[in-house]
Amino acid sequence: MQVAVTGLLCTAVNGAASINIEADTIRELLRKLVERYPKFEPLLDAGVAVVINGEIFRDNWSEPIPAGAEVVLMPRIQGG
Amino acid sequence: MSGVHVSTTINGDPVEFVCQPGEVLLDVLRNRVGLTGAKEGCGTGDCGTCSVTVDGRLVCSCLVLGAEVEGRTVTTVEGMADGADLHPLQKKFIEHAALQCGICTPGFLVAAKALLDRNPDPSEEQIRYALAGNLCRCTGYDKIVRAVQAAAKDLAVDATKPAKPAPKKTTAGKSAKKTA
């Protein structure tokens, strides 16, 4: 599936705005990203959010990724 | 370090305390008398969360020395209710959601009461200017002003009612207790 990569996270995937990767859960997606792109690991530590079909997930890494879902990687942000 | 001995009346009760000459009334109330309703928001008289009345006059207790209330009467938010009966302002603040975090609420209640005590039928503008010395960061003041307006109406209605008769003193109750 296509995963869009935004903001500083692009630097970890050689500037690509989108990458092709298969995963059934957020946890699997992030694990595979680190395996394929080692530069991703420090950014993961700093905080990443995954948006599935418009819903932002900051912590729930067990969340399943349905087939055909739109997946976007975003920096993990907070409110006030 | 020699303390000043002060005799005063707080919320109707006689109170004595010893404080430093330079100690402000706010610190005396909070640290010596145990009344923490008045708060310190700034210490410089700019926010009004320390509002109390001294001899009926609205003051910032962070700008009054403890020693200055010798022989005077002090009223704080803790003295607003009559036992379990809340003052109409207190009731209306809850009813109208005029508080969110509530830190400014004691100061606003004291200031609003001071206003209604001298001007029972204030206009919206008069309310806003009378309360301009009290900062609120949560509400935008909208529901506070509405609560004061509602309390003013309530108090005006109360003022037209006949005064409650004083409770009769009877011996009947006492004898009933003896025989029971």
Binding site: T6, G7, L8, C10, N53, G54, E55, F57, R58, D59, N60, M74, I77, Q78, G79, G80 | Q20, R30, T36, G37, A38, K39, G41, C42, G43, T44, D46, C47, T49, T76, V77, M80, L86, Q90, F93, I94, A97, L99, Q100, C101, I103, C104, T105, L109, Y129, L131, G133, N134, L135, C136, R137, C138, T139, G140, Y141, D142, K143, I144, V145, R146
Partner: protein, 753 residues
């Protein structure tokens, strides 16, 4: 039991009613206890010595004289706060911000702290501490800090992903967007390009930071503190002090305002370290001056915005370049501004480039929809200019370009059902749009967006033997959420609101709960309570089944009563929650429901505001005549408190737009660290604030709740800028639009003829 968080369209019995809040009585009688209202036997007064320099090396700290003062029980410096952060940079930054380590980075940075028997002794001790500084050049302006040759705030900082050898004040540069903006601009009939600046503001909570810390030699500690997140404070303090998390009990006092500024520790680790050294409780309360100088204000910014549009109103390209200062430590606030800048619109070609920059100012913290108001000021002001240039009504222009379900957001994902169009339609039809305007009066409107978040949340619902209910939550109540959460429990269990008591528990009673920020309090704890209550209902049904000796599948729960299902049980009397609770000691013991959840899927929210102003052309002073807020809440659990959030956020935005700013001198010192000269709105500055709550359900929450607390601080800056422009014909590009600035602009325009 797993629960489904998806929205189920249901009719409610108590949700949406305006009930009195449970903590109301304590708050109107002065009984409620905030951070500074607790005391402990034997407590000491803590006080902090702060740097009078914006940037300096600390050559030496001599505490010998102070040590000898009778009544001084402990003095600490960074030597008493060793690095236990295991290489975590963000925690080391927090530690260094709590107490300077060899160098001071901003005016007000903590150098040392004392604990003494009373305030006078503590003050004497601070005066007796001798510090040798080597003063270094400083920089406090975001654009100045980016120039070559600017003083470097932190020598180790490198631009992330950039030159690894170049010391810099730019900690990161991030980009968001899609499409091709060069092509987009080439297609445009009209291009407007402007630059903007906003000054630094503070959350301005009326209650200063305060805590009572007590640490024993056995490693056990207690902390009473005003905070937006006592669990987060526990984790941070435990780590910084090398304590076990479970052994540090943190109790959240009532909080006198936070707005993001109390999501971060500022002096709590110092209080704990003092207590540990003195082996006595230490009460540490910040003065108002300390709050301004040494906690977490928001960013000051410098921004460039360019919008291209066709004559028919369709935007063809949009570009924002944002420069945000994060204070003396690396931050991500600029990036967050870049993500929010264009979020309201459906744009084929869009880009936001955001710089995060260090300066010698306090460490920036979140402030209600952090980073969004500044970017919105720049974008929404420019939107009005484009609308003017093509002769289109500003609301219609926004409606034409507004995002909708299926729009690709400028920050990446595709939107589900969202409310921006609905808020714009409501603004278009709002009675305020018809109010007559006189001389020097003008009307402006603007839109705003905010993300809203979920997070880790735990809740327990305990049913007493008399049928009354205790609900324990871990999200601090900043604005009245205990009322809403009690309503939710009452709705789920089918019991009267008055029988439910909601308490914010200390850290020993529940698992970790994230801070109350990101508008998540009612959303997250609401979800956890729904699930906990449903678990309790399952147990109630089981007890009824046991009592009747029938299978639990034949028991249904409706409006607080268990009913046996099926004709064969017609002889069995229904059992109310009260009945079952009374029997609970003999049917299995106490009845409770519990839930740990990571609430995610918080919906984004939008707001549109209308503002009418009158500007005095002789003084430049602006008066707000009328103000209206329209915002999508998903579902308003307690409408009074939703309205309160709209009004409070708008008031903060109005203060930010018109008066509030940090003023730094050439010496790099904060000039206006008090409420007299840092001027927040007072009662006489504002009119009644009209509110309209729209309810477009959030598909990710059982009741459709969206976060509401933050979004309405986003539109006011531009709504007022647009109103001022329409009132007196000057386009303000520098916030706050204080009287001197407006007067200067009016005079310049007159001079230009």
């Amino acid at each position: 039991m797993t629960h489904n968080p998806s929205f189920t369209n249901q009719t409610f019995k108590v949700i949406g009613t305006r009930v009195p809040r449970p903590d109301g009585l304590d708050k109107v009688t002065g009984r409620a206890r905030y951070g500074a209202d607790a005391s402990a036997p034997g407590q000491l007064v803590g006080m902090i010595l702060r740097s009078p320099h914006a940037h300096a090396e600390i050559k030496n700290i001599d505490t010998s004289k102070a040590d000898k003062i009778p009544g001084v029980k402990a003095i600490i410096t960074s030597a008493d706060l060793p690095d236990k952060v295991n290489g975590r940079r963000d925690m080391l930054d927090t530690l260094e911000n709590c107490m300077a380590r060899g160098r001071v980075l901003y005016d007000g940075h903590a150098i040392a702290a004392v604990a003494a028997i009373d305030a006078d002794t503590a003050k004497k001790a601070l005066k007796a501490i001798k510090v040798d500084y080597k003063i270094l050049p400083h920089v406090t302006d975001v654009d100045e800090a980016m120039k070559d040759g600017a003083p470097i705030v932190q020598q180790w900082v490198r631009t992330a992903g950039g030159d690894a050898n170049k010391a810099t004040n730019v900690s990161q540069v991030s980009q968001f967007g899609h499409g091709n903006i060069e092509e987009g601009f080439a297609e445009a009939d009209v291009i407007i390009e402007r630059s903007y600046k906003t000054e630094q503001t503070h959350q301005g909570y009326i209650e200063p930071h305060a805590c009572l810390a007590s640490v024993g030699p056995d490693g056990n500690g207690e902390l009473w503190v005003t905070t937006q997140g006592h669990y987060t404070f526990r984790t941070q303090c435990a780590q910084l002090l090398g304590m076990d998390i479970a052994k540090l009990k943190v109790t959240s006092s009532e909080i006198g305002g936070g707005f993001g500024g109390k999501t971060h520790v500022w002096m709590e680790p110092v209080a704990l370290a003092l207590s540990r050294k003195a082996n006595r409780p230490v009460k540490l309360v910040m003065t108002r001056e300390e709050v301004f100088r040494a906690t977490g204000p928001t960013c000051s910014t410098s921004m460039d915005v360019k919008i291209g549009a066709k004559k028919d109103g369709r935007i063809t390209a949009a570009l924002a370049v944002l420069r945000y200062q994060d204070g003396a430590f690396p931050g991500i606030w600029g990036m967050l501004g870049g993500m929010t800048a264009w979020a309201c619109y459906d744009l084929p070609n869009v880009k936001a480039i955001a710089y995060d920059v260090l300066v010698n100012r306090p460490k920036v913290a979140a402030y209600r929809a952090p980073s969004a108001p500044m970017a919105a000021f720049a974008v929404e002001s420019t939107m009005d200019l484009v609308a003017q240039a093509i002769n289109m009504d500003p609301v219609d222009f926004r409606l034409l370009n507004a995002a909708k379900e299926g729009t690709r957001a400028s920050y990446g994902p595709t939107y589900g059902p969202i409310g921006i169009r609905a808020t714009l339609e409501a603004v278009k039809n709002h009675p305020q749009m018809k109010a007559k305007l006189g001389p020097n009066q003008g009307r402006g409107m603007a839109c705003g967006f905010w993300f809203n978040f979920g997070g880790q949340t735990c809740s327990t619902v305990n049913i007493g033997t008399d049928g009354t209910v205790n609900v324990s939550v871990g999200t601090v109540d900043v604005g009245g959420s205990r009322a809403s959460l009690s309503l939710i429990a009452a709705e789920e269990l089918g019991v009267p609101y008055e029988t439910v008591k909601c308490t914010v528990s200390d850290t020993t009673a529940l698992g970790h709960n994230d801070t109350t920020e990101g508008s998540r309090g009612t959303f997250s704890s609401g979800m956890a309570i729904i699930f906990a209550a449903r678990n309790a209902v399952a147990e109630l049904r089981a007890r009824a089944a046991k009592t009747w000796d029938i299978p639990v599948e034949e028991v249904e729960w409706k409006d607080g009563v268990a009913y046996p299902m099926g004709d064969q049980h017609h002889n069995l009397k229904p059992l109310s929650l009260k009945d079952i609770a009374a029997k609970s000691p003999r049917t299995g013991g106490p009845i409770a429901g519990h839930n740990e959840t990571v609430a995610d899927g918080a919906g984004v929210s939008f707001a549109s505001h209308i503002c009418d102003v009158e500007v005095d052309p002789e003084t430049g002073a602006t008066r707000i005549l009328r103000y209206a807020v329209v915002q999508d809440a998903g579902k308003a659990i307690h409408p009074d408190y939703v309205e309160g959030q709209f009004q409070g956020a708008a008031a903060q935005g109005i203060g930010w737009a018109l008066n509030e700013e940090y003023v730094y001198g050439k010496d790099g010192r904060l000039q206006n660290a008090g409420f007299l000269d840092y001027r927040i709105p007072v009662c006489s500055d504002l009119p009644f604030i009209d509110t309209t709550i729209l309810e477009i359900p959030n598909p990710g929450h059982p009741y459709g709740i969206r976060g509401v607390g933050e979004t309405s601080i986003v539109p006011p800056l531009a709504a007022i800028g647009n109103a001022v422009s329409n009132a007196v014909g000057v386009r303000m590009n520098h916030v706050p639009m204080s009287p001197p600035r407006i007067l200067k602009a009016i005079k310049a325009q007159r001079a230009a003829g």
